[in-house]
Amino acid sequence: MQARPDPADSADLVKVPPRKGIALSVNGQSFVHVGDPGMPLLWYLRDTLRLSGARYGCDSGLCGACTVLVNGVRTLACERSMDTLAGQSVTTVEGLAAEDGSLHPLQQAWIDEDAILCGYCQPGWLMAAADLLRRKPQPTDADIDALPNLCRCGSQPRIRRAILRAASMRRQNRHTP
């Protein structure tokens, strides 16, 4: 026997007003943050959205493990509070690959160069590198030297090669008809 829908319930379904809060986009999806406006983006991503690719490493903006993009620009998620993000567009490492699952050139280059080691800091490096390639599609060694992220395992030479490889893949793709 099917329960008959209560007319009052179905009315509620259409009447609920939009939630008041901070509306933002994360990896192309819309969300509204209704908690503490002072919450850092890192904990919103990790605890509310459970996008755990951005990692906790320090509290002082020094390690870069929490790096994400806000409107395409490198941002430390541990230092950026939610009240500054209304209407903004956030990209995390989970949103770096295309929707069909094909990897970003940087992700592929990271795999090709085996630039992993413990892996904890790598999403932060990938996002910082994505920002670098946006600013400078053909970065120099000095540009890569200026990346502020830390890697405790010593994967930096491989990260350098991966960034240069991704830049070169892009160059080749552009030249292929």
Binding site: D36, Y56, L106, Q107, I111, C118, R152
Partner: protein
Amino acid sequence: MSMHVPLSRRRFLKVLAGATGALVVGVRTLHAQEVVDGVPLLLLGDDVTALGPYLRIEPDGRTIIGARDPDCGEGTRTSLPRIIAEELDADWRHVQVLQLGPDLFRRKGATLWRYGHQRSGDGTSVPSAWQDLRQAGALARWLLIEAAARASGIPASRLSAHDGAVLLPDGRRLSYGSLVRAASRLTPPRTPPPLKSPERYRLIGQPAGDVDARAMVTGTARFALDTYMAEALTAVVVHCPWTDGRLDSIDTRAALRIAGVRRILQLQPEPGQPLGSTPIAHAVAILADDTWSALRARNTVKLSWKPGASAGPSGETTEKETLALLHSQSVPTHTVRQYGDFDATARHAAHRVEATFVQPYVAHATAEPMNCVVRIEADRVEAVVPTQSPQEAFDVVQRLTGMDPSRIHIRVPRTGGGFGRRFEHDYLAEAVMLAKAVGKPVKLLWTRDQDLGHDFYRPAAIHRMQALLDRRRRIIGWNVRKASASALAGREVPADSLWQSECDPNALPAGLVPHYSAAWFELDSPLPRGPSRGGHHVVDAFATQMFIDEIARQMHRDRLQLRMELLGAPQLLPDANNGPLDTARLANVLQQAADRIGWTLRRNNGHGLGIAFHAMLGAYCAHAFEVSVHGNALRIHRAVCAVDVGRVVNPLGLHAQVTGATLDGISTALGQAIHLENGRVAETSLSDYPLARMAQLPREVEVIVVSSTEAPTGASTLAMPSAAPALASAVEAATTIHVRRLPLMPELLRKI
């Protein structure tokens, strides 16, 4: 159904048919000591048994291989399964790797670890795997070939295995998946099947990328903090800055009013509790629905602490006092090694050189701070633990919960660095205590300040070195007097462990000079201390190699030539636990590093060259650096590292470990030091404890791997010890500074 193949009196292979018709093969090793039923596991430790890893082949061809050791960046999740896959002749593209947590089983009244060796980061993973993992793969291959022989009517001797299939002489392939049902019903051989001859290796020696690479770069790899358990509370802790201090006052009213904050608890373990001799400071834990609520409450709660007896300058022997001790006639705590007669030789030696080297306490500063997740139910405990020793983590959980071992489930995730820190399980003990107290799962996070301030530090050390030389300026006498606070002092360890964690009686140049004396003086320190990457090897190699440089400088001799002369004619020196130390292999890596950097080519651009060597755990390493110093800017233009680790399992993995350890050695030497101020750690953030940034590091480490057919050794620590002295040696050559103290950058700034 299950059958055993004896390998030796205490080892056997186990074969059983899985419920799905899969073939399961494992290696077991029984320790000589039998275990009596009812004896608490804690008293038995992990020395009791060793059981093997397993592999599973599903009828559909999927091959699942267990990785028994944790992977904190050492690459064990890739290298260990490949050792099994090699003997199995598996198709690596269809292998899935399954992480194995610690597990126990009972046999004939004995409680045994199911998978045997389960440690990582101390150079034991690959050597242990070489002993037993290959046999698991070889037995499975034998059974599959036997099954194919029966199915085809062709004798097994005419069949071979390749890429996940048995090949028949007529070219037909029988896939492993199609053979597993039959193979799992076969009677295994009476003796272990032979292992492959190395010419037939197809995986070992070939480069393999990290098996988790895709998950890592897409953010889907799960570290412990990425575990979300229903109803779990997130806990952050604030520890008393003094290990022996206490809470003085606390006001939690405002903190408890913050939305999402559930409990604020005091953790006040009695001395000796909960982890025996592992010191755990008193702490206040804030538990909340989410991390941010807990962090807000942490910033709001008003706390003050009372120092314990260790506060104040009396807790630490000062550098001045230590130097006085090393120059006094005091009897050392332990005579590490003595032969010949250094003192008598000193009276008539033509030359005498002396120097003192000072090195600080250092922290582990793993990328992923201490954390874990614990769920305690009435009849089950589940813990997700970033650990280098799952079996010790298991013991901690059992000790604190009293739960039956069969009801304890430890999950070992990929872990963001260990370097020895995760052999200690203080954070796990805290999480278990909190989960018991609140009756809910607990995700414990140590913020960076807690991680840096409550580590088990690598002991500081002062070495006083003396050398004697004859008229031809050859080294004939060596005397090292070292003072340090033992990494293991206060622990439940045999007395000899206290000096053995600080000194190695076989450390070179012991055995190479006619008169030798090594002594250790024990210091006290209120700082908790523990294992570190390379441990005393790193500290001693710096003093030894820099002292060889000092001898060369004072005697106007070439630094490489003096080292070569010291190593002398090829010989095998005793080296406890690791078989003999082959001076020819050491000289070879030294020469290769020198050749690659162009040691004999004179630089006229102001660049300086440095060189250093070290041997440990049966492996050999040498570094050569080229640097320049302009003002306060130190540039490392080139870094060369030559290693001989025996047979290489995964060249790509080895390259990563050698590069990583070299950069770790550089980073530590450049800027890292932990200081005590009134008995508490002064450094509270990464700005106080700088890890080297991209621009400070060499763009590439030129890794030279000596080809070898010797059994493989561990590589995760090998390239750490000689990196710092090679760097400092190059800085000396580029400047007029004599490096006698680490870290290097403050010295450079002070002396320029």
